[in-house]
Symmetry: C2
Subunit: 405 residues, 2 copies
């Protein structure tokens, strides 16, 4: 991108941006003709006084953390795409950059080229953000989109995604939503100006979603999506990443394949959605180059280390058991007199009210029952599950999924 | 917003933002208790050396132009929501601000709080933007949405929109797409870094859209929307605002009511959509305050007049007759032998190929014929219209609309 668009980048940044040196793992790997000089020694970059900016796109906490800290110590600005590092140690790193009057920019860490971080830091920064809801991981969205489109099983789609390069050999970070957890931590920090650590965020992966659930979602007018939700109410923060049945009325239900989207609600801007490609080398390059142009402009106007929106107050984090949700529940029950009645009472006894029910015959005098609830406190729904599990006619509590309108 | 969110605004801007004086037309009008000091003399603001920033939200070219020019002359930064002024004279005003090291920011001029201007100026500025397609006027979108929802006639919906305050007493600027023309001129300037004057932009209003066209659009899988389209290809700019039948596959088809959305395609970022409320006092406040925070941060870091992305090259503008579109055409024809054949030949003779046809009986041996074409050069489609108009069995050429996939 720096080569292909060198003309507009230097015109808009006020200076030429040149790659001096690249840190690589494998010196022997074939590289394009215009590739910059490479090295295996980080020192060659960190100790080079002519290098003004370090771009970190290696991922993972270490050694990226050490390198970035050292780059800042030696007066270099930093652009990073590292969500895990920024989620875990962004607070200290940003403080360090600020103290030194340096820029530390990280647009590529969340949703690649979609300018969500910049928007939160700048244009929207006069708003109190009430909520963020996003599809922030392309791999899980690709898998769930394919499960909807082809009624394929999770394992089958995952294997195919790995083959196509949409999922990694070890898919844990994506499918267990650790990746989304880091991204949400960064977004909450910016949106609510508070410190949200990844481990503060409730997390559930998508591996338990079955084709049957996908089919019921379609029948009931929903799509199963893996969502990241952050909310601020009465000074309390709610933050969680998990699969959810998203109503067709919600634009996130239409975000398909490897795309990402973030819905924001601010007290003045109202509802805002940013949608685009959330991964891939080109979209990531767009974000990194956008940050580099920002640094070039700061250099031009002698204004590095401008105020960010990251004045991290401590705010209490709500426990997920206190959250309010609607729920989908699928159970297998023996057909007996009073079976449906007793299951339905288990909801009511725990103050959970029902909004929809599907009951279908299964072989051997059994039924599949699917319930949708109205909004209820998660603790009450969990108590309902415990009560239903104890009922004698219940053969299996197949699955439950939170529902998002 | 400056009062309600004073705490976060001063924390994020690095300084308190205080309204010193407001220029008003009517000194007697009832105002809220916390309203700032008012005046009828612009001089009280422009000549006050303690005022650092002038916010212009009066609209129209004059006297806003004079006031903004004078504000810049007296060393004041400016935030404006004035699309017409920025479209017509933004180039000179931005040059003047740059020469003086002042900030002139105008996020609110296009799509209110949706951060499309900031994104184009900053995060996306390393991209060559290939195309912009947007719904940038809330009034026309509200009217067309209502026509779809209720099959109501244009005049009836317009009157209702005027009553509800969604349309002005004189609706010309909105329904004739002058408003959209100004907004597209600004967007093209930023996206393609070139000078696009409003009068360079082909413009067509929405007043000729009939309920029958809305019904055919639904039948064929489209929504009628008023779209703004800017494209850059081979160094040539295409820019136009007009109603179009938008395919349901295009996310713009789902942007309803007074909402706005802009779809961008950049060479690296790929497809990006920004969606939100495009008008109203709160959403406009969000944009203006975002710009004020930017100015406050520039003040804090002593870096006013940072580089924008508005290095206006001159680029040739394509004539709309050279544009490529698909088309919808509705005609009323007498039923005679060879009628359909001759009409169909008129398309083929002008190198326009058909993709869909609806033919319905009308009273008195007449038919309503609706054609959808494949992509064709607009000049060829216009020649087709001329040929069809001459055919003896054609009673009326009811309507034609461009089609957008």
């Amino acid at each position: 991108m720096l080569t292909a668009n060198a003309d507009i980048i230097s015109a808009r940044g006020g200076t030429t941006i040149e790659i001096t040196r690249c840190l690589v793992q494998d010196m022997q790997k074939a590289r394009p003709a215009h590739a910059p000089s490479i090295t295996k020694r980080a020192e060659d970059i960190l100790a080079d006084p002519d290098i003004e900016v370090v771009v970190e796109v290696m991922g993972g906490v270490e050694p990226a953390w050490t390198y970035i800290a050292r780059a800042l110590d030696s007066g270099k600005h930093v652009v990073t795409a590292n969500k895990e590092l920024m989620a875990r140690h962004g607070r200290e790193l940003l403080k360090s950059a600020e103290d030194k009057g340096l820029d530390l920019l990280f647009e590529a860490a969340v949703c690649a080229g979609i300018p969500v971080i910049q928007s939160l830091k700048n244009q929207l920064s006069g708003n109190r953000v009430r909520s963020i809801m996003g599809i922030v991981n392309g791999t899980t969205n690709y898998i769930l989109t394919r499960m909807h489109a082809d009624r394929a099983e999770y394992n089958e789609v995952l294997a195919e995604a790995q083959e196509k390069g949409f999922a990694e050999a070890d898919p844990t970070a994506d499918v267990e939503n650790f990746d989304a957890q880091s991204k949400l931590a960064i977004l909450c920090g910016l949106a609510f100006a508070c410190a949200v650590r990844p481990e503060d965020i409730y997390r559930q992966g998508i591996g338990h979603i079955e084709t049957t659930d996908i089919e019921y979602a379609e029948l009931l007018g929903y799509r199963v999506k893996s969502v990241a939700i952050g909310r601020q109410e009465d000074g309390k923060i709610e933050a969680r990443v998990h699969p959810a049945m998203v109503s067709l009325a919600n634009p996130l239900s239409k975000v398909d394949g490897p795309n990402n989207a973030v819905l924001l609600q601010g007290d003045f801007v109202g509802d805002l959605m940013l949608f685009g490609s959330g991964a891939g080398k080109d979209a990531t390059a767009s974000a990194v180059v956008g940050d580099l142009i920002e640094i070039a402009r700061n250099r031009h106007s002698g204004a590095h280390g401008r105020i960010g929106s990251t004045n991290f107050e401590e705010k209490p984090i709500q426990d997920v058991s206190d959250s309010l949700n609607r729920y989908y529940l699928r159970v297998t029950s023996e057909d007996r007199p009073r079976a449906l009645g007793q299951i339905a009472l288990a909801f009511g006894d725990n103050d959970v009210s029902l909004s929809a029910l599907e009951m279908h015959e299964l072989p051997e005098s059994r039924s599949e029952l699917v319930f949708l609830t109205h909004q209820a406190c998660e603790a009450n729904f969990m108590a309902t599950l415990d009560a239903i599990r104890e009922l004698p006619m219940i053969e299996k509590l197949d699955n439950w999924i939170r529902v998002v309108s």
